[in-house]
Symmetry: C2
Subunit: 261 residues, 2 copies
Amino acid sequence: MTSINKTSNNELKKIIREFRETAPDVYMPGISVDSVIFGFHDDKLKVLLSQVGDPPSFGLPGGFVRKDEDLDDAALRILQERTGFENIYLEQFYTSGKKDRSNGKMLKDLMEKVIGKMPESSWFMQRFVSVCYYALIDDTKVKPSAEVIFGEFKWFDINRVPKLIFDHNLIIKKALATLQSDLDNKLVGSNLMSETFTMNELQRLYEAVYQEKLVRTNFQRKMLGLGVLERLDKQYNGKSHKAPFLYRFSKAKRKTYHRSP
Amino acid sequence: MTSINKTSNNELKKIIREFRETAPDVYMPGISVDSVIFGFHDDKLKVLLSQVGDPPSFGLPGGFVRKDEDLDDAALRILQERTGFENIYLEQFYTSGKKDRSNGKMLKDLMEKVIGKMPESSWFMQRFVSVCYYALIDDTKVKPSAEVIFGEFKWFDINRVPKLIFDHNLIIKKALATLQSDLDNKLVGSNLMSETFTMNELQRLYEAVYQEKLVRTNFQRKMLGLGVLERLDKQYNGKSHKAPFLYRFSKAKRKTYHRSP
DNA sequence: ATCTATTGTATCATTTTGATACAATAATAA
DNA sequence: TTATTATTGTATCAAAATGATACAATAGAT
């Protein structure tokens, strides 16, 4: 992993200075967007974090909303700009607005570590309310493009997220809770699984999200019963046992339920 | 119901002019808060709307966030200021941020109907992102205090909400969907039921929220099984049949579930 | 051919849910 | 006083969903 210092050259500083000067004209004041990007690797649920500052700390990938841009579009654009990833289904789940959640000084300090002194009255000094989104990503598809302003990315095991900037730890916690409620529906149309997968892979994802072991046979029955899986050919993977079927999420509309008695 | 005209006296105009002038210093730019207040009356789910302008149209009760105020606190304060209702459990459920959801002109026009011409560059002309909350209210307790700037309140049947200002119809739709998902948990600690209630009253609330009939006996079994109800004395109400028990939501912590297989 | 690890399905017990029956009872009418 | 009525609380049976376990099928290794 490259330290932020290696990319802090003059070119970068110029870009940042430009950004600092044009930001107040281009972006809405006081509103930022942050995204919790979940991935799944090595049977663990992961979250994509962005390195900032030196010594490095980490935070959610985020950015600002253009004055003529829908919130949802801003979230997509920022994710695309920073990770290179496109066609992601992002879902808004929370807006963080405690008055001192980002006391401005933090952001300003961060910026100053990269580009040096900034005026007290900086646009970045203001209070920000952050609208938060989450996405489920098949992380074999994510190619985090070295990001211009804040540095690079790293996947963290959901259980080993360090102390993050601002209130981003809290935001991740809320995102996980949102994910856990009704994962069945959220997976469909998400990008968390690769296009095709085995039942075993799907089960391990559930186990990672809910952080508990599930009974294989019953899990299979349940998943098939949801009516969202399409069975494809078997997958001969060279292992010395019966080959599993491959599945994919079918496009067909599924039944909906609610929990009324 | 009093028309806005009757309250549009000089006193009011002065207050509004003052508000208009101090707003940019006091409030965060570009962020508003709106609340969907659900009530239950005549076996119908209702929503509390505020009359604005003349000819009157309706909208959600809302307001702005002080620069030194938590988002959640702002929602509470605004609700308190406008309805007089205190100690409400408000839950944030959505942030509305389409670029043209409140194209500024709408808000400015509304203000101008009340206080006359405003400058093009008005603070109110800017784009607003609205953070939305909902609450469940026992509407026998709500005493909508005649509200200063925008007029008065009216309860609307959830199925008979007129065309509202901005994107408030959409916001109410989202609020109802949020309410419907997992009502069991949302009721506890809410203010929607009165302190004590009969099983029948509770059932009628469920039927209003889910918009469907439920089977009495199974409903009762289900509710009792949740372990959140405390059975009190019987309620002798003069009706010529067996008196029902009264219940209240018990403080005791309840079991939590998740929907994993 | 036999063994091993894993997969797909079946089966039985338990729990939850849906539908229905029925006894209890508070006021009213006879 | 007794029968009537509407509603309530609980029981019961069937159907569906879930939990636990058994077992045959099979792709490759031995």
